[in-house]
Symmetry: C2
Subunit: 347 residues, 2 copies
DNA sequence: TGCCATACCAGAAACGTTTTTGGAAAATCG
DNA sequence: CGATTTTCCAAAAACGTTTCTGGTATGGCA
């Protein structure tokens, strides 16, 4: 409404009768500016309501104090946790977050990456994004610092924050094995996700060690979404010899499996055990009560942001990888199977 | 790594031998630039990998192509839905989103608002934020366009997008009444939320119409969070005459109530009916199966963003308010009470 | 009293755009 | 063929900072 013009540093300069540069120095707390001068400047600045233009500063300093964050799906409750971690250090570093959804789609990811680069973000955090294709690599090599979370390509020595998939998954399978489950279904995450791959490998290796047979039909390929969980659940339950337990690639995945089980009239954990992965807040609610593998999402987000800050400060630092431990949280969605061998059930 | 310098419009100018302004015009598709010249420019631009600096443009045009979004809590699954709606139109308008969490805390909100203003966002969308305090109003009056979602102060004629709280809430209470519930607990959202206030008023009015007695102990005050739901549930269930049904101020709220009920060993809906508000994706999962009031969150977000764009284009347009209808979605968390009068239960 | 170092301040350049203004060449019209 | 319009292009200003370079008092010291 009130057609106010922006009050600039020049106004402060004029108001105080001091030079532009002096005002700038005084405000930045730099160099040798007498306390008296500084006080004068500060007083005038607040009196006039002066606020420095971040965009002018960004142009001059070639630094935008902005961090870009790419996330596959904010709707998945685990995403905000990671973002929160990034936000924690962003605030500490006086940076702002530019957050974008890619829906796991590479085109969208490329689009958003270009936008971030155009905006001259100081760096970016890529959470479960595509990291291998030539197009993506080209953008990553654009000399803007970046850190990867939960998905990488070992061929490229990037800064990376991930979770220890071996511990969590093997704990989970051993838990199920101890409960006397002998047929376990596994939902595999996105095919180009390093994390999803590691988890499957661990699962297969551990199954072998435990002398569990894992035929192909016991591995369902999809993504981290609910629909994949539902589809996987339906698939598994329709098998001639359905598994007595199913491990999801995410909690949301596991909820999808539950959905399929419930729609078939199966009770959990009575007739089917389900284990998730993420440990979203929901998982601990009694209405859900999901046995799952806990990930330190917020800490991982913060660690990634810290790594990013380091790299921004020191672009030639050798890349680091940080692997966070995981642990199984046993809740109510797992129990001993009803029979040594699961009964045949049809949807 | 590769210490590349940014390729600027000047480089394109030099490469083509054309003037800066000509290149700019050609790229912007402006004025009268011959097709041939334009082709030359475009070719050179892509060949050199030129990308315009958004920050330089922002400084010059006094327009950042950025929209700030303030949200109370991204972790609440209803937030991303609103944001998604805003994002939809932001992409259409070639704007980027600057998203911040305020945790419902006014100080944090002020901090983030100032940051957004410093960054010269073209406008902002405030979802369930504080809108009345002098400090907030001062910032809102800073002549940067804004739109409110779900919380406003009728004293100020702001652009506003809300939901029809009358329909939804009265549908819900009538549903419960029809099921023969006579004592209904109500969880009230944040005390300074207009939406929460309207809902309570509707609840009380409709209860009166139905000749239901609503003593003070049947209204619990809190926020939209899970903990409030748990506290409310415990409070209600500890009453001498506990309600047979409880309405939450959000789905997460309702989940909290469920939590409290389950921890007391009550079954839902057998011994307690629960209704939520939001209709988050989770609510429809069989494991939850929550009767709730549906809100068109994404559409509301998009509508707010549209309003914002309009106001940016036309700052003096008279403020509009858009109210979206709501409707009750009956699922499995509501049923007839076990007894005409609820049995006495102690936690 | 004169010189030098120090402490502070002023002016100007630079960041990469868009936009305005002006000007030259080409085309049209009288 | 000259004048006027049209079409395009060149130069320069502006956006609001930070920072570099240089300069002027002021104080201390000889």
């Amino acid at each position: 409404m009130t057609e106010r013009k922006r009050v600039t540093i020049l106004d402060v300069s004029r108001a105080t009768g001091l030079a532009l540069s002096t005002v700038s120095n005084a405000l930045a707390g730099k160099n040798h500016v007498s306390e008296e001068t500084r006080a004068t400047v500060l007083e005038a600045a607040t009196r006039l309501g002066y606020r420095a233009s971040t965009v002018a500063r960004a142009l001059r300093m070639q630094r935008s104090f902005t961090i870009g964050v790419l996330v596959a799906d904010v709707a998945n409750p685990s995403s905000p946790d990671f973002v929160r971690g990034v936000e924690d250090v962003a605030i500490r570093e006086k940076c702002t977050l530019l957050l974008s959804n890619t829906d796991g789609d590479e085109e969208r990811q490329l689009l958003h990456m270009r936008t971030l680069l155009d905006r001259q973000v100081d760096g970016m955090v890529l959470i479960s994004q595509h990291v291998s294709s030539p197009a993506v690599r080209a953008l990553l090599d654009a000399s803007t610092p970046f850190v990867l979370i939960q998905r990488r390509n070992p061929l490229f020595p990037d800064d990376y924050v991930g979770s220890d998939n071996v511990i969590g998954v093997s704990e989970a399978i051993n838990h199920l094995h101890a409960l006397k489950h002998r047929r376990i279904g596994f939902v595999r995450g996105p095919s180009d996700s390093s994390t999803a791959g590691e988890r499957l490998e661990t699962f297969l290796a551990e199954a072998k060690r435990l002398r569990l047979k894992v035929d192909d039909e016991l591995v369902f390929k999809g993504d981290y979404g609910f629909e994949t969980g539902v589809a996987a659940g339906r698939h598994f339950l329709r098998l001639r010899r359905p598994p007595t337990a199913i491990m999801g690639s995410s909690d949301i995945n596991a909820l999808g499996v539950m959905e399929a089980a419930l729609e078939s009239g199966l009770s959990i954990p009575g007739q089917l055990s389900v284990v998730g992965l993420d440990d979203i807040a929901l998982a601990s609610f009694r209405a859900i009560n999901l046995t799952t593998i806990h990930l330190q999402k917020r800490a991982m987000g913060a660690a990634a942001a810290d790594l990013l800050i380091e790299r921004i400060r020191q672009p030639d630092r050798t890349p680091q990888e940080l692997i966070f431990p995981t642990r199984l949280v046993v809740r109510g969605s797992t129990a001993a199977p009803a029979l040594p061998e699961a009964p045949r059930l049809r949807a």
